[in-house]
């Protein structure tokens, strides 16, 4: 994977980080190297380009709900939610109160398991296998509950569908979720332990200033790690988030460690949201009455830009309907898109090659939503 440049300086060569690197995911970065230093990096996405935006133009909303899982493997329920909200607005569905609460609970569970993967991936990238194993193990407890509720461990297959959710919570699901919380808390504390090796790898690495972060379009934990207090759940509330109490963790350092710490502190806020939602969970319908499994846009016309706070930051659906069965145009904004192309190219200038995995994973990347 290395090629020596024709320049005369010995030690100048270019080297690929990924896509075959064990911790890179389906993404690659071409690094121009001088010795051990990375001079310039060019992101090379496209290994996972499946063309969702075009695929959705050929399918009906309920089928698209199933498809929207696949936008990102690590947070499928939240992508379900963004898609469902876009269709809800265009079709003018009144979503029942209970369904809104179930949607929020599942989205937050999904956020927690995604953050665990972040910790796992960061450990893997820096050679801390124990952290990887423990995080994946604890994530599995959450997957068991997701399997109980949605019927699939990773992919819920459009559980959060236009007009509500596909099925009501099964018996005792609330208890199962509450039983999860101590386990999640244990894992969160484990991840936040002041591990000297961890600090040495991530402190003061890949520092992004506040102004740069805003200009490059950073979102989510990456933006909050730079000292900007912004959370779509609070600034642009959807579902029932404006009724719930939670804090937005912010850190000012802007380095890899700050981003990660913000992410782990978010788990606590998610736990608060889950407890509150389960406490207030109303009884009643979970689907718009008379909703058929087959939904078509035949009467809907218009367009909407729906933004949601996913685990990686702002994810959005722009949907245009023109009264045909299928949406006319769908645009998906993946949160990693700005993180993985402009920001990573900016951060990977003049750094040591050994820091590339640390910076790369601290960006909380998901190649699937870069490429879509």
């Amino acid at each position: 994977m290395t090629e020596i440049n024709e320049q005369k300086v010995t030690g100048d060569f270019s080297m690929y980080f990924g896509p075959a690197h064990p911790g890179s995911g389906n993404f690659s970065i071409k690094c121009e190297m001088r010795g051990e230093r990375v001079l310039k990096a060019t992101a090379d996405p496209g290994y996972l380009h499946r063309g969702f935006e075009k695929l959705m133009e050929y399918r009906e909303p309920m089928q698209n709900a199933v498809l929207s899982d696949r936008v990102c493997v690590l947070e499928p329920l939240q992508w379900n939610l963004v898609h469902a909200e876009a269709v809800d607005y265009l079709m003018e569905y009144e979503v029942p109160e209970r369904a809104k609460y179930i949607r929020v609970i599942l989205a937050e569970l999904s956020r927690i398991q995604s953050h665990f993967i972040w910790y796992a991936a960061m450990s893997l990238g820096t050679g801390f296998m124990t952290g990887f194993n423990i995080a994946i193990g604890y994530r599995d407890y959450i997957l068991d509950v997701l399997n109980l509720i949605t019927g699939g461990r990773v992919y819920p297959a459009g559980y959060i569908c236009p007009g509500g959710v596909r099925k009501d919570l099964p018996e005792k699901a609330e208890n199962k979720i509450l039983e999860l919380l101590p386990k999640i808390d244990y894992m969160r504390k484990f991840a936040l332990k002041q591990n000297p090796a961890w600090l040495a790898r991530f402190k003061e690495i890949g520092t992004l200033t506040k102004e740069e972060a805003i200009k490059f379009g950073a979102v989510g934990p990456i933006l909050r790690g730079c000292g900007v207090e912004s959370d779509v759940r609070r600034d642009d509330p959807y579902e029932i988030y404006d009724e719930l109490e939670f804090d937005v963790p912010v850190m000012d350092d802007g380095d890899a460690y700050a981003r990660f710490t913000v992410g782990m502190q978010e788990i606590e806020e998610s736990m608060k949201i889950i407890t509150q939602s389960i406490d207030r969970l109303p009884k009643g319908e979970v689907k718009t009455p008379n909703l058929k499994p087959r939904v078509q846009f035949q009467k809907a016309e218009g367009e909407i830009y729906i933004r949601n706070e996913l685990s990686r930051g702002e994810g959005a659906f722009y949907m245009v309907a023109t009264g045909q069965k299928t949406p006319y145009r769908v645009k998906i904004r993946g949160p990693s898109f700005t993180h993985m192309i402009p920001i990573i190219e900016h951060l990977l200038t003049d750094v040591a090659y050994a820091d590339v995995p640390a910076i790369y994973w601290s960006m909380y990347q998901c190649p699937a939503d870069v490429d879509r």
């Binding site: 996405p45 496209g46 379009g217 959005a316």
Partner: protein, 179 residues
């Protein structure tokens, strides 16, 4: 749930913002729903309006999207700007000719972020952004056909020709689908 007084306060703030935007940007701002404003402008004013909007606090370029209106013969470019201070999303729409899709790049404001979004639009819709030095392919590799997301490019036909075999009994079903 937000109370009545909150709602009216919000809408008052938004009305004020709309008036402010109207005068400063020199365009008419429309209200879609809470925290969603949109406007439609001429394509040659895009850099000017975006610069003014940026100065007014619309600092976050969420995304750039292209809608291909085949019957009308136009591409509609949609810029989504979010303001961290006003907490409002401003959607700027502009239409350009489908046969000659040229528009100025807004990389003077958002730099590499805007350039990457424009790269995507260029690759998938063939829109040319004047002033963007980096319009290289992003996702597709060795692609020589027309921009694949255009409405007159039929994916299903293309995939059938390239990938599927009509004589294979398991792939036969793909040839029976219309559209």
């Amino acid at each position: 749930m937000s109370t009545m007084s909150d709602d009216s306060k919000n809408s008052l703030l938004e009305e004020k913002l709309i008036k402010n935007l109207n005068t400063k940007l020199g365009v008419s701002i429309n209200f879609q729903k809470e925290r969603r404003l949109w406007t439609s402008i001429d394509s040659d004013k895009i850099v000017d309006i975006c610069t003014k909007a940026y100065e007014m606090g619309f600092e976050h370029l969420s995304t750039i999207s292209v809608t291909d209106w085949l019957e009308e013969g136009k591409h509609e470019l949609v810029y989504h700007l979010w303001s961290y201070s006003h907490k409002v999303l401003l959607t700027i729409k502009t239409k350009i000719d489908r046969k000659n899709p040229n528009i100025s790049s807004i990389n003077s404001i958002w730099g590499a972020n805007a350039e990457t979004c424009e790269r995507e639009c260029h690759e998938l819709f063939g829109v040319k952004f004047e002033g963007n030095p980096n319009l290289t392919p992003l996702f597709l590799e060795d692609w020589e056909g027309p921009p694949p997301f255009l409405k007159d490019f039929n994916w299903r036909e293309y995939v059938k020709e390239e990938t599927y075999d009509q004589n294979n009994p398991r792939e036969k079903v793909y040839f029976e689908v219309k559209k």
